[in-house]
């Protein structure tokens, strides 16, 4: 063993202080790379900031919308019609026959019974300069060429070696060629070669570009509102303003297919909600000696001003009672109420001899008409920034199927499902546009946040008196998997 160690010692002694001046281009490369890395560091920093901002925004949005939708949970209250109302009803019924229903609810009212509500939904001794060498084969020979002339013996080595090197030059793969020079000991077996070839091949094919499909799950907190127009006669009998929008949460499944370098198409199934609430306003009808006013004066929860008028949010609207069904002109269309909602009162104007509104429903709280949609989008995506952090422009159409049609009254009895809106068409078409931002977490997984506007081209209500076109701005936040 001692003898063996000799070689170690000899080699170490010989090579210890060995140093060669590297070719000048290396320093240039080092400088260049250092500069590039400084840039990357800055880039990485901004990327992290961007990613953090996206996550924070999504969390905030989720929290905010979730918070405000909680009150929207559908509590269907069992309805009991108070005794007074039945009396009122009978009174009005006799009158009703004399009044033309047209005047009250518009032309369509008489046929509107059919539509019932749907589901809810270092430094060295010697330095030998080496010239910059373009290829490796030549390099091996260089060591021989720079020999001091005194060593003649070694020049012979050099010649022998060069022959060997030339032989090597015929082989393209240097390392393999060297192995081949000693075939007895180091030849690779065929299986190994195949393994290596397979590895190299799979390395080449395993590129991001090849993953054309992407699927994702989204949640989309959003705000929905509408563009609405009513005919004059309809508006006359709608005495509340329904301009407030609605915050809600939607979501769904998306599937994308890359058709080109920058284009991809997307479809999926989404759930979305559209609806509006009555704007909170003081009750115009609550005159001093009105029923509504009396109701509030008896309710100690609400503050009254000096004149005894109520400042609590109230909802009041004209109603028409027809064969036990209460019809009312809502913002999104005529609402058929199954019964008088809890905490609401219907007064009849019989005594006032007014012919326009045979009744007024008064309640504190808010009235809302909510539609639940299953949406099937067909979207075209154009990638304007194709890096780890990507930006897409999105546009397309959306088929919205109404699966839920409900009207709610939210008062101190909770949220009551009071009926449904009539004349709502089941299938509607909407346009969609948005800007998608996504960040690749790995080869397969990416996260995305995408503000998108969905706007219904046509009124979703068949009633010519009502032009109700809802829109929704949602922040689609989700995780995508590419395959």
């Amino acid at each position: 063993m001692k003898e063996i160690k000799k070689i170690d010692k000899a080699v170490k002694e010989k090579l210890e202080g060995f140093s060669v001046t590297p070719p000048p281009h290396i320093w240039e490369n080092v400088q260049g790379q250092l500069a590039a890395e400084n840039r990357n560091k800055r880039m990485a920093f901004t990327r992290w900031i961007a990613a953090a901002a996206v996550v924070l925004l999504a969390m905030l949005a989720g929290w905010y919308f979730n918070h405000s939708t909680q009150s929207n949970s559908q509590i269907t209250a069992q309805q009991q019609t108070p005794g007074i109302n039945t009396v009122v009803t009978t009174k009005t019924r006799s009158k009703e026959k004399e009044i033309q229903p047209k005047e009250l609810i518009g032309e369509n009212t008489t046929q509107t019974q059919s539509n019932k509500k749907g589901e809810n939904s270092g430094n060295s001794q010697k330095q030998i300069p080496v010239l910059p060498t373009p290829n490796t084969v030549a390099k091996n020979s260089l060591y021989k060429e720079d020999l001091p002339p005194a060593r003649e013996k070694q020049l012979k080595f050099a010649k022998i070696n060069r022959k060997e090197i030339r032989f090597n030059a015929l082989n393209t793969e240097i390392s393999l060629a060297k192995q081949a020079a000693e075939p007895n000991e180091f030849a690779l077996t065929n299986t190994d070669k195949m393994l290596i070839a397979a590895n190299v091949a799979s390395k080449k094919t395993d590129k991001f570009e090849n993953r054309r499909w992407k699927m994702g799950l989204n949640v989309s907190p959003g705000y929905s509102s509408q563009i609405v127009n009513h005919s004059e006669s309809y508006a006359q009998n709608m005495s509340y303003s329904g301009e407030t929008g609605n915050t809600n949460i939607g979501g769904g499944f998306a599937l994308q297919y890359k058709t080109g370098k920058r284009f991809s198409i997307e479809s999926g199934v989404y759930y979305a909600q559209n609806g509006q609430k009555s704007a909170t306003s003081t009750n115009l009808f609550a005159a001093n000696n009105d029923v509504g006013s009396n109701y509030y004066s008896s309710n100690k929860d609400f503050a009254m001003d000096a004149v005894g008028r109520v400042s609590a949010p109230t909802f009041s609207n004209a109603v028409n009672i027809n064969n036990g069904t209460i019809l009312m002109n809502g913002n999104a269309g005529i609402v058929a109420l199954d019964a008088t909602p809890k905490g609401a009162e219907i007064t009849t104007n019989a005594e006032t001899k007014s012919m326009i509104a045979p009744g007024t429903m008064v309640t504190e709280g808010e009235f809302s008409q909510v539609f639940n949609f299953i949406e099937i989008p067909l979207l075209l995506r154009f990638r304007i920034l194709d890096t780890k952090f990507g930006i897409d422009l999105v546009g397309g159409i959306n088929t919205g199927i109404v699966v839920g049609n409900n009207a709610y009254i939210d008062n101190n009895y909770g949220v009551q499902n009071v009926g449904s809106t009539q004349n709502i068409s089941e299938v509607n078409l909407s346009g969609a546009a948005g800007i998608g931002m996504n960040y690749a977490l790995g080869k397969h997984i990416s996260v995305a946040i995408e503000p998108r506007l969905n706007y219904y081209f046509n009124s979703i209500n068949n009633n010519p008196e009502v032009d109700f076109r809802p829109y929704r701005i949602g922040i689609y936040t989700g995780v995508y998997y590419a395959f």
Partner: protein, 181 residues
């Protein structure tokens, strides 16, 4: 060496002149180290480049304890090992056999030049070369080598023995060829 400390501190501050000076001081020696570990000069150049980038990147981590040259050298060796791992991950595990070596005389080694010796080391199969370098030049034990290379201690020992044997034979061949000519 007071000088070197100053250069290092300026490198930490990101001064370009200091980086250039440091490179000028150590590049030849480090290139020597890289050449021992590489299959050829091109690979050694790549490793040297990568190594220096690491040196500048992590120079603030150097605590001025122990030699700076040793620290730098360790980086070069690590880069070389890393490169080996990447390139040879699919090579099969070598057979574990201890080869008995022939008697070797120092004189023969004296006859050949440093360049020739480097050339012979470069011609060693990659893992033999790695193990031989780590053991002989870096003074590592088999235990340490087995960890670095992710091989068994037995493999490390047998690889070292094989490396020695091949080197000896090659040196002899060179010598013999020279004599017969």
């Amino acid at each position: 060496m007071e000088d070197l400390k100053e250069i290092i501190e300026e490198c930490v501050a990101g001064k370009a002149w200091a980086q250039a000076k440091l490179y000028e001081l150590f590049a030849p020696k480090m290139f020597g180290v890289c050449l021992r570990y590489a299959t050829d000069s091109a690979e050694a150049e790549d490793n040297l480049q990568e190594g220096f980038i690491k040196v500048f990147k992590y120079i603030d981590k150097f605590k001025h304890k122990g030699s700076f040259e040793g620290w730098m050298r360790r980086i070069m060796v690590n880069v070389s090992i890393e490169k080996y791992r990447k390139q040879h991950f699919m090579y099969p595990v070598e057979d574990i056999e201890i080869y008995e070596s022939n008697v070797f005389s120092n004189d023969i080694l004296d006859e050949i030049s440093v360049q020739e010796l480097i050339g012979l080391i470069q011609e060693l199969p990659p893992r033999y070369r790695m193990v031989f370098n780590l053991f002989v030049m870096e003074g590592m034990g088999h235990k340490e080598i087995s960890k670095e290379m992710n091989i068994s201690e037995g493999t490390s020992k047998s690889n070292l023995a094989r490396a020695r044997e091949i080197l000896q034979r090659k040196v002899k061949n060179l010598y013999r060829e020279a004599e017969t000519k």
